[in-house]
């Protein structure tokens, strides 16, 4: 009892401080509350949206939901390592390399191309395309809207005459970018052979 009586000042000071800081924290929590983007949305934003289904889900969002529920983050083939890194960052998980079971990362971005002379107009690829990027009607030649194609590969398999190729996206003057310099210790630039000199 003595102990309490002797320290009543200190105890009360601590209690008061606890109350005050608690109130401040509580107030701050309400006042500065940030409406967080639901985690599924955030994950979905990181995914490449090819809707290719290579991860075993019918589309990117279902996989995002899966990851939010604890599924592995290394199943997105089109996203590759960059996406896995971003996901690991977001979800606070360890980085794991891409699961080879789901496919190997492609070096280039691909786009589907229909060899139009061979197309029989069966519309099978139309139905396979997750983003409706193939144009055509029954018995009419089909064609891929290159700008909308996500390069997901899903149209290749159903084609009965194998007339769909996945081609690397061609670099144009508009899409070309400078490469990063080689880094410390390296001389910038390269010697190029001249094609035709005067």
């Amino acid at each position: 009892m003595d102990l309490l009586a002797n320290n009543i000042g200190a105890v009360s000071a601590l209690v008061v401080m606890a109350l005050v800081f608690g109130a401040i924290l509580g107030f701050a929590a309400v006042k500065f509350h940030v409406e967080g983007n639901p985690i599924v949305e955030q994950i979905d934003d990181l995914l490449p949206q090819t809707q290719c289904g290579q991860c075993g889900h019918p589309g990117c969002r279902p996989y995002a939901e899966g990851m939010a529920a604890g599924e592995d983050i290394n199943k997105c083939v089109p996203g590759g390592e960059d996406t896995i890194r971003a996901l690991a960052d977001l979800l606070g998980r360890e980085f794991v390399p891409l699961d080879a079971e789901y496919g190997a990362e492609k070096e280039h971005k691909m786009v589907a191309y229909i060899r139009e002379a061979e197309c029989i107009g069966c519309t099978k690829c139309l139905q396979a395309c997750p983003v409706d990027a193939i144009l055509g009607a029954a018995k009419q030649m089909h064609t891929v809207m290159v700008d909308e194609c996500t390069g997901c590969d899903l149209c290749v398999e159903p084609c009965p005459v194998d007339c769909i190729d996945m081609l690397p996206v061609k670099t144009t003057q508009q899409t070309w970018t400078w490469q990063p310099p080689a880094g410390i210790g390296a001389r910038p630039g390269d010697l190029i052979p001249v094609r035709n000199i005067a």
Binding site: W178, P188, G189, D190, L191, I192, P193, V194, I197
Partner: protein, 350 residues
Amino acid sequence: MALLNVTSPHVHKPGNTGAFMREVIYATVPGVAIMTYFFGFATLINIALACAIAVGCEAAVLKLRHKPIAFYLRDYSAVVTALLLAIAIPPTAPWWLTLVGTSFAIVVAKHLYGGLGMNPFNPAMIGYVLLLISFPKDMTTWLPAAGVNETTSALNPWQSLQMIFTGHISGVDAFSGATPLDTFKTYAGQPAVLDANPILNGAMAGYGWEWVNVAFLLGGIYLIWRKIISWHIPVGMLAGLFFLSGFFNTAVDADNYASILFHLFSGGTMLGAFFIATDPVTAATSNKGKIIYGALIGVLVYVIRTWGGYPDAVAFAVLLMNLAAPTIDYYTQPRTYGHKKPNKGLAKPD
């Protein structure tokens, strides 16, 4: 026939990092010369020893890191670090002190953080502070400047070598003295004692030391003239020291607080202002930031000198501000063309 394909610009100002560092080395020449005059050849021996150790350490670490040794040694950064450290420690400090300090500066403070350009703290000052707190006695034992009284003269080369490698000079009693800062700290508030001390008597900032500082000031002006450093950090630091010492010396108490000139020209003030605080890797980068960075170093130097436990404070002040440099940078970004307000901080303000 092949043409070079490279991004613009196609012309480059002459010079490289090595040249940059060499200018710094040249700028220390007057200071080192004056120090040699007052403290003997030990200064030069110490510098040579430190440089050799630094280059050796640098080469060894580069080899371990599988980096091209010659390419990196050519930037002279290790030499500059060793030079500044050797200038900062007492010239007659035993060889192992130089060895420990220099190797720690190069291996730990520089390369363990990723090498040149990556170190958050000034390596020379890290080495210095390591020695100062580990071997305070050796580190605060300076020879009295030559000529301060009839008995002291600068050590000759043979004596210097003996001093550095054996710790004593045959035939001469070990002698040592306190620096002006140390003396003032010990006897602050006792003007009579201070005046009687030969180091302070008749000098504006301590016998010998004031000339060392003047010499480094000259070297610093050379660096500014050569555009190796900008004026912002030295001016900020000296101004901080000037105003604080001026305030306490004139408005508070002239006996307990040393004069402006004393603060500006004793200890490592000028060396710190022009050579150490201006280390670009660890300092703030924007002009405004540099002024703030320098001024705060000046303030810290004064605070530690006056109320702290150590007589001089440049190393501590610089290291503390190294910590603050990134933050200063983030809050002193210049206003970019076409923007209403300068950026603040790292994150996007949402």
